[in-house]
Symmetry: C2
Subunit: 374 residues, 2 copies
């Protein structure tokens, strides 16, 4: 992977996404949602889920996993819940709708869970948790995914990266937690593979379920379903809590594929259907008393954590979301660096869609750059 970057303003990347997704056949409103989710990821510094993912969405459309004309349908609901069938639609579109339903129901009933089946990759879970938080509610978002987590004592991936995101109102900025229940995501392995670096110990397993630091081999085994994959947070032995990460992954699965009676991670992205499932929850803190008092109580605990004595050699304790808030402020002001490989992919995608790549991305010097497009 080339370490060279190109530099863009947020507006430039937004214009690219808006036009590209409309060219794929999405409406302007739908393109707005998808672009917002991808851009927030890049603005938060989570590059794996921003522009870098564009090529995968295109592949999803080509494979027939993503139906650009699908409209999500509420197939079951109560005052505190809904089940939505995405009908193979884009993950961001159904998820935006699902979280808005959860928010409305939570405002009316105090709390709500919305579960989604038959969807696709939806970007960062945190985007949807943040939607609730922006309205003064506690937001949670989860998703299953293609199996990459190897349960304790297994040798095959059977559970997805299964992130759990939680956003909670606080001052001076919200608590924002968004973490896969695997020790790392597949994207991290892809970066090590591109850099031809050995993986850190404690991340991955080979096809026999033994620890491996060979990114290339692990990735190709995952794709070929040969065995192996990524460890749950807590590693691959109960001594370090492997069963805990595995358990949190199952908690995510419950809210996504189980409540919705959708496709479990073990069958997501297999064959001609993705089947990805999501789960969303919103809680109005007013059901526990004065929301302002609850927010102040939480904010002072967060401040107490930040002010706590630091470990030798460390000068800062982060509470969850601080890094994202700082990355966001910096990138809104200074623009976003995008890896040249991703830009080459975007450029190829523009050509495919009949867009004038240079007018969006400027002159791209592709010399020595290998496009992973197509």
């Amino acid at each position: 992977m080339a370490t060279k970057n190109m530099h863009y303003s947020c507006n430039q990347l937004d214009r690219f996404c808006m036009d590209a997704f409309q060219k794929f056949g999405f409406t302007k409103e739908e393109a707005r949602i998808i672009s917002d989710v991808l851009l927030l990821s890049d603005l938060y510094g989570i590059e794996s889920h921003g522009m870098q993912r564009l090529v995968r969405y295109h592949k999803g459309i080509e494979k027939g996993w993503i139906d650009v004309h699908a409209k999500p349908e509420v197939v079951f609901e109560t005052p505190v819940s809904a089940v939505i069938d995405a009908h193979k639609g884009m993950g961001q579109i159904v998820s935006y709708k699902a979280m808005n339903i959860a928010i409305q129901k939570a405002k009316a009933s105090g709390m709500a869970i919305v579960t989604v089946r038959n969807s696709n990759h939806y970007g960062i879970a945190g985007y949807y948790a943040k939607m609730a938080c922006d309205q003064g509610l506690v937001g949670m978002a989860m998703t299953n995914s293609e199996a990459i987590m190897v349960p304790t004592n297994a040798r095959m991936s059977m559970i997805g990266s299964n992130p759990i995101a939680l956003a909670v109102p606080a001052e001076p900025y919200p608590f924002f937690f968004d973490a896969s229940t695997t020790v790392v995501t597949r994207g991290k392995l892809e970066i090590y593979n591109k850099l031809q670096k050995p993986l850190p110990e404690g991340w991955a397993l080979d096809k026999d379920g033994k620890p491996s630091t060979d990114a290339k081999e692990v990735l190709s085994n995952i794709v070929a379903k040969n065995g192996g994959g990524i460890m749950p947070v807590g590693g691959n032995t109960e001594t370090l809590g492997s069963h805990k990460g595995y358990g949190f992954g199952m908690m995510c699965e419950l809210f996504c594929s189980i409540f919705s009676q959708g496709t479990t991670s073990s069958h997501v992205n297999v064959g001609s259907v993705s089947g990805t499932c999501h789960g969303f929850m919103a809680i109005d803190p007013k059901v526990f008393g004065d929301p302002q008092a609850i927010k102040e109580h939480f904010s002072s605990y967060l401040q107490e954590l930040r002010d706590a004595p630091k470990a030798d050699g460390k000068d800062r304790i982060y509470t969850h979301g601080e890094k994202e808030i700082e990355a966001y402020a910096f990138r809104i002001k200074n623009g976003i660096d995008v890896n040249i490989n991703t830009i080459v992919e975007m450029s190829d995608m523009a050509k495919f869609l009949g867009m004038d790549a240079e007018s969006y991305l400027g002159k791209v010097d592709v010399l020595g750059i290998e496009s992973s497009y197509q």
Copy 2:
């Protein structure tokens, strides 16, 4: 720690607990609840939270943390929520009431969260999650505790062991997940200390926030609030996901001390008040469709996990709760082994309460056994 055990039937231990807690001043109904929680822990093979804990409850009463005459009070409620002040009562008593309220509200409204402040240690979180599951609901239970988790980059414990328990109806037995969000609990360190064995790498930190395998030193630093403690699940570096365990610990804290506006882990068990807080949630799966179909869907995923190919050298993949179900069946039939140290503590406690120790516990050979009682 002596490795010698004494052997009892479940009924013998139950009789001891029932009589001892009534001697302390609890009503028969209250003693029934407390005894049930402690016994289930021993029956599930979670010895750290069973008879072994009796001495701590006595100390809690002596210190004034536990008021045996306290009656929990619902101080705020809606159709989907309640906030309960335990008024320094025993954790098990308020928690039994709290989960029953959550269950009733979930049956009426679809789901409910009950949050508790000003309580005490409540035993295993899983007991309360199981209460909901036994009635066909999804149950969750959490609690904060005295700070033992050192946040990423910190050197002081600021968060409790903060377990999250989840119980979900399934066949042939429920999914039952009950895990601290620290890599291990303090009880594990105490066992290594008693055995004078070095801790495994990746568990604990010394007073400067550096990794330590010295159980004795880590424990005395925790007690003296000198710094150090236990790592979150994921260890003490972001490379292995330290911030994830830290984040799940915060999720637990939200449902316990934040929603209830109670005492955060950083101040629990400090001075003359415990202040422990709990959180409970019940969800009726009927809000997502046919509960039987959801249960069958989940059960087949669990079976698929158990049937998955095993890692080299492993012959079984467990789904969460299997070990507990098997331990329960074995111990109900064959009785329970209790460590001789615990029996000596129970014997001393019996004498303190004016009970005839031998008639409950048989003849205890204390030769060479050091009682940690008082």
